[in-house]
């Protein structure tokens, strides 16, 4: 049932010009960034060769491209997710899902899976760019794998937050702004709050703050370090916001 809803969401995304526009714009930005980095790398390559252990092309070209992708997703995901619940409510099509013999959990998970399928497509395009270089050079496949994992986890947590924001209002644009604001707040405050809590020696609140700080969890994986806590945190964040969205949907049934 989750996949029926996911397929419906994916179809709805591709039926709207927005998804195609997002795909195009994201690809243009990332493509430009990637080529620029590659160009810079080729220019300083001779100087790098003189270092004792020079950073490779994966660290200097692929990693920054992934960082750019993370920043672009911060804008793209609220736009892609904004319609998922808000517009169904505005057009009163939500009734079809709510009257069908499916649970609220299945509805939210279906929408989440549909959105993630689309995001994986974007991530696939991101992965494809550094992979192209493997025809001419040797890549650090381990680093590429952790970078990809980090991006998927980041996308999942952004998607969950945006889906929750979409469940709060019947105006898609308001939902997009709300999720954008929520994500920005988490990026800035989660990080500083975590640091200051840790500085005071409050380890447990600091650990909680890290759950709410997607970028903090992106960093270790981005350096190729498999930090289990940095993997668990975004999963917890995703689960928490999906749960909030489910509760929100159920709350609408209770409150009317």
């Amino acid at each position: 049932m989750i996949f029926t809803i996911a397929a419906k969401e994916l179809r709805a995304l591709f039926a709207s010009p927005l998804a195609w526009l997002v795909l195009t714009v994201v690809q243009v930005i990332l493509g430009y960034g990637f080529l620029k980095r590659l160009d810079d790398f080729l220019q300083i390559q001779s100087q790098l060769a003189q270092l004792a252990s020079p950073p490779g092309v994966t660290e200097l070209v692929a990693a920054p491209t992934y960082a750019t992708a993370a920043a672009v997703l911060l804008f793209a995901i609220p736009l892609l997710a904004m319609r998922m619940i808000a517009e169904e409510r505005r057009n009163q099509t939500m009734t079809l899902l709510l009257s069908a013999p499916i649970s609220m959990t299945e509805i939210i998970l279906g929408k989440f899976v549909g959105l993630m399928a689309f995001l994986l497509l974007i991530i696939l395009l991101v992965v494809a760019m550094p992979l192209m270089l493997s025809t001419g050079t040797r890549l650090d496949m381990g680093l590429l794998a952790t970078l990809t994992l980090a991006l998927i986890l980041l996308a999942a947590s952004f998607a969950a937050v945006s889906l929750y924001a979409s469940s709060l209002t019947a105006q898609p644009m308001a939902a997009a702004l709300l999720s954008f604001g929520l994500l920005l707040a988490m990026l800035f405050m989660g990080e500083t709050a975590g640091d200051s809590l840790r500085a005071r020696g409050w380890q447990i609140p600091a650990a909680f703050a890290q759950v709410l700080s997607p970028l903090r969890n992106f960093e270790p994986l981005g350096r190729g370090m498999i930090d289990s806590y940095a993997i668990i945190c975004p999963i917890l964040l995703t689960a928490a916001f999906l749960l909030l969205a489910i509760r929100r949907l159920d709350g609408r049934r209770m409150r009317g």
Partner: protein, 342 residues
Amino acid sequence: MRHILGIFLPDHKATRRKASIPPLMTSPAPELTVSARGLSRHYGTHAAVRGIDIEVRHGEVLGLLGPNGAGKTTTMRMLTGNLAPSAGEIRICGIDLLEKPVLAKARIGYLPETPPLYRELTVAEYLRLAARLHRVPRALCNDAVTRAMQRCGIADVAKKLIGSLSKGYQQRVGIAQAIVHEPDLVILDEPTVGLDPNQILDIRALIRELGSAHSVILSTHILPEVEAVCDRVQILHHGEVVFSNTISGLREFQRGRTMSISLHRPPAIEELRKIEGIATVEADGEGRFRIRFATDADPTAILVARASTEDWGLHQLVPAQTSLEDVFVHLTRGGTGGDRAP
């Protein structure tokens, strides 16, 4: 030990027999497709629906009538699990909707006031989605969709985008969506609103046909519609059921309560109003009057006696052709709850 067993065994048997009775009694329960008791819904301090009971038997068409804001849509949203009732219980084919929503909802088809249509899908795609969401097995989906389209007369637009269809066709797609999974209960919220007269006739014929195989609950404020398609009618007013009866019972209920009287030499209208047991008198012109009797009163004999003694020239006294409209207006405009029929 045996003593204890001796005491306990019969008791135990008795409880087991007791426990086994309800399933036996509920096995012919599909007879009752919907049974809702004491249904209430409050929005803050405002009570939209207050303790109403609804029962629909298998193959019955129930009309929910009422002025705008009487609580029809709220009731339907509760019956379909879209809205949680503040109080009361709902059973669909014996399954508790609030405890087992997924099982119960599989037996319901619902067309809300605004049909929940995805404009970017074609009719066939949309109906397939609706069938899948209602857990029709994948292998049977195509058949179910084809059958629903044929019944609703939309097979010729199967490949068109829903967004490009006229309102009438969209409404039919909405009905097709509600019946694609062959539910036991079809709930239609104002299914003929905004349609042209031909389309209304088509949809009514469709609803009648649905009523033979499914149970149907229909809300409307078009009164002839109820008389045309419904077996039973409940009138809601301020969130309460003020009238509940079969259509034939409705006619029975009204028979003899309104009379049309024709007099050659009519007295002043106040004279008629003064007669005990007469609630209202309306002059229809040319010596004709429409007289409504007060509750539990039959002043026909007095009327005839007065007419002969005072030489009014009585030449016609017939039960007026009463319609649902009379009942409706009577009950929902200053009418008292005392007219509640069984």
